[in-house]
Amino acid sequence: MFKNKRSREMGEINGSSLADIAFLLLIFFLVVTTIDIDTGIGLVLPPIPDDIEPPPVHERNMMRILVNASGMIQMDDDPVSVVEVKQRVKDFIDNPTNDVNLAESPQDAIVSIKTDRATEYNIYIDMLDEVTGAYNELRDAASQAQFGVPYSSLDDDSEQQDLIREQYPKQLSIAEPDEG
């Protein structure tokens, strides 16, 4: 008698709504997901100087970029506008005309950026962007000439990339802040 009843109760679970449930969950995760990739300008800060004197740098190998509180820019002693910065940095690093006031060689060139305490952050980033852009363009040109492809399409940590990086080492100096 009981046996009979049990066999009648055995039923199948209706699986047709499974797809709907899965769709609902899928839509939830689609909405919640933000595939954000971190992008930005990378930099390695200089170590805190010990009492050892930093090695002397020739005046001509140093490009000083100063930005004041109102966003005015001065490179070496001339006031310049933002659009000129990239070209001037490129000229300074590469020095195609062997100007005695510009860097001896790309390996010696140092670009130093100094800002006022009241300078706005986005002006500083613009500046950094221009200098990074100058280096990228020089590396691209060198890579194009030697290997026929732009720098960015070389494999990471490949020999070619190292070679270009040695040729144009990115030597950015974030100047020591003023005391007080």
Binding site: D38, T39, L45, T119
Partner: protein, 149 residues
């Protein structure tokens, strides 16, 4: 003509849908795996600046974030510029040094991503950078968006 009509009438036009739940489940699992729910609650307001020459950071596990921007106050108002690391606002700049040094010990290849509001004054950023130099966490990244042409 009759010949053609007969042929088209015979073909079955149903797409089999029995595999649809499998496909949906596969997509579902993909999105469940990739989803990262926001783990920190931002207590400072940050509007990113943009730049052209940016690079991607592939190894997300190495990144530690420092947020700098005006503090969010009650009622949608903005206060003074504050520094936030993880969930807490940093009151004393000197604390950054020990905090970041501990993180460096956990992960020697640490990259510090600075997420700074575009109107912040450089003084605060410079102070934070000085602390990072003291902590020896020198690999940093200024978080920016890609510039729209």
């Amino acid at each position: 003509m009759a010949h053609f009509q007969k042929k088209s009438a015979k073909t079955k036009q149903d797409v089999p849908t029995s595999a649809m739940p499998d496909i949906v489940f596969m997509l579902l699992i993909f999105f469940m795996v990739t989803t990262v729910l926001r783990e920190v609650e931002l207590r400072v307001q940050i509007q990113y600046t943009d730049a052209e020459n940016i690079e991607k950071i592939e190894q997300k596990r190495l990144i530690s974030y420092i947020y700098i921007g005006p503090e969010r106050l009650d009622g949608g108002q903005l206060g003074d510029t504050k520094v936030q690391i993880d969930d807490a606002l940093i009151e004393d700049m000197g604390a950054i040094r020990t905090l970041m040094y501990d993180k460096l010990l956990d992960e020697p290849r640490l990259i510090v991503s600075l997420r700074v509001d575009h109107e912040t004054e450089m003084g605060v950023v410079t102070d934070v950078q000085q602390e990072l130099r003291h902590a020896e966490t020198r690999r940093i990244n200024y978080s920016t968006l890609r510039q729209q042409e």
